[in-house]
Symmetry: C2
Subunit: 204 residues, 2 copies
């Protein structure tokens, strides 16, 4: 199975602009990508990165400047092999998590992201195509149904928690590990504000 | 094993006050509780409710007006049997989810909630006590360690998604089922605002 990890090398994690500056965002996004790649490699997978531009990783990188949906579908169209698409912003995912994902049977396996996205897809059917626009989990379910397939969904908090905005960051400090979490924990700490968990930049 | 579902019968779901009026909050909270009880019963569990006041359910109700931590610890102190504490605001949990939870081995089993809470606990050690104040998942891990136990954590988005505030409600419409989700879907629909999913009250 080909395992593809898309990565926005140009303007990563813009919705974290109220927490990190541009350089921090780029560093943080790259560390999350590296954590995902390491966890995949730990369970014997040889992932490839699908990036909009050059990126510093030790695995093959395919550069495609087109929007995510087109770039991914171009891979799906080019092969009859099974393909998995795993998002790069899943720093809570561990090797065990990915083992569970790839052991999940089904022609189409979906992992919903919090907020309606699709954090991972395994397409074991050659005609499946993606559409990451809007509430993609709904579209992906419909596309599976259009192929007469009932998609299998994986119930994992670690895979469903993609890190997009400030409110997602506490989850890393609460139960993450790896380089991105260490980087975040060196700079930020958990605080409780009005009964809700948040992060605050460490002083000094 | 005793399976206890705590329920705030007096002021349920206050953080949903910007979405529902007081009567709707009470209805919605009760429907979520009933969904959890039904899913538990489907897998052969006979749950009991630990409530701050009278509540309309078909299972035994123990009324204890004290704060949650005291009321739960009073049960833990009264028995040497294994006890599970399952939150009432987990409408994404299905019978399969609960089957997975109760099949998880370990003297202390924890399910982190998004935001640092603890959505479910299985205590198979007679000396374990809870503390739901603040970032309870951290406290519960420490309390397990103090008993020389490495807690087992269950990785389930359905169990980790407790419904506390507006931002949690779209998850129900995206992947929930049951009475609380039906009730919500009759009154609200999904919308996308500034690239983020939200809910909006249906007109008419």
């Amino acid at each position: 199975m080909r395992v593809v990890v898309p990565f926005d090398a140009d303007t990563p994690k813009t919705r974290l602009g109220n927490v990190f500056d541009a350089e921090e965002r780029a560093t943080f996004a790259t560390l999350m990508l590296q954590d995902v790649l390491t966890s995949l490699e730990t369970v014997g997978i040889e992932p490839e990165v699908l990036a909009t531009g050059p990126v510093s990783v030790d695995v093959p990188v395919r550069i495609d400047e087109r929007p995510l949906t087109k770039a991914v579908n171009s891979i799906l169209e080019s092969t009859d092999r099974s393909v998995a698409i795993v998002m790069a912003d899943l720093p809570l995912a561990t090797p065990n998590t990915f083992e569970r994902l790839f052991e999940t049977a089904g022609q189409i396996v979906l992992v919903p992201g919090i907020g309606g996205g699709t954090n991972a897809i395994i397409a074991r059917h050659p005609e499946f195509r993606v559409d990451y626009h809007g509430l993609s989990i709904r579209d992906h379910r419909e596309r599976a149904h259009a192929l007469d397939i009932e998609p299998t969904e994986v119930d994992s908090a670690r895979l469903s928690t993609d890190i997009d905005e400030r409110g997602d960051l506490p989850e890393m400090l609460l139960r993450g590990e790896g380089r991105a979490t260490d980087w975040l924990g060196d700079r930020f700490e958990l605080v409780i504000t009005d009964g809700r968990v948040d992060i605050s930049r460490r002083s000094g």
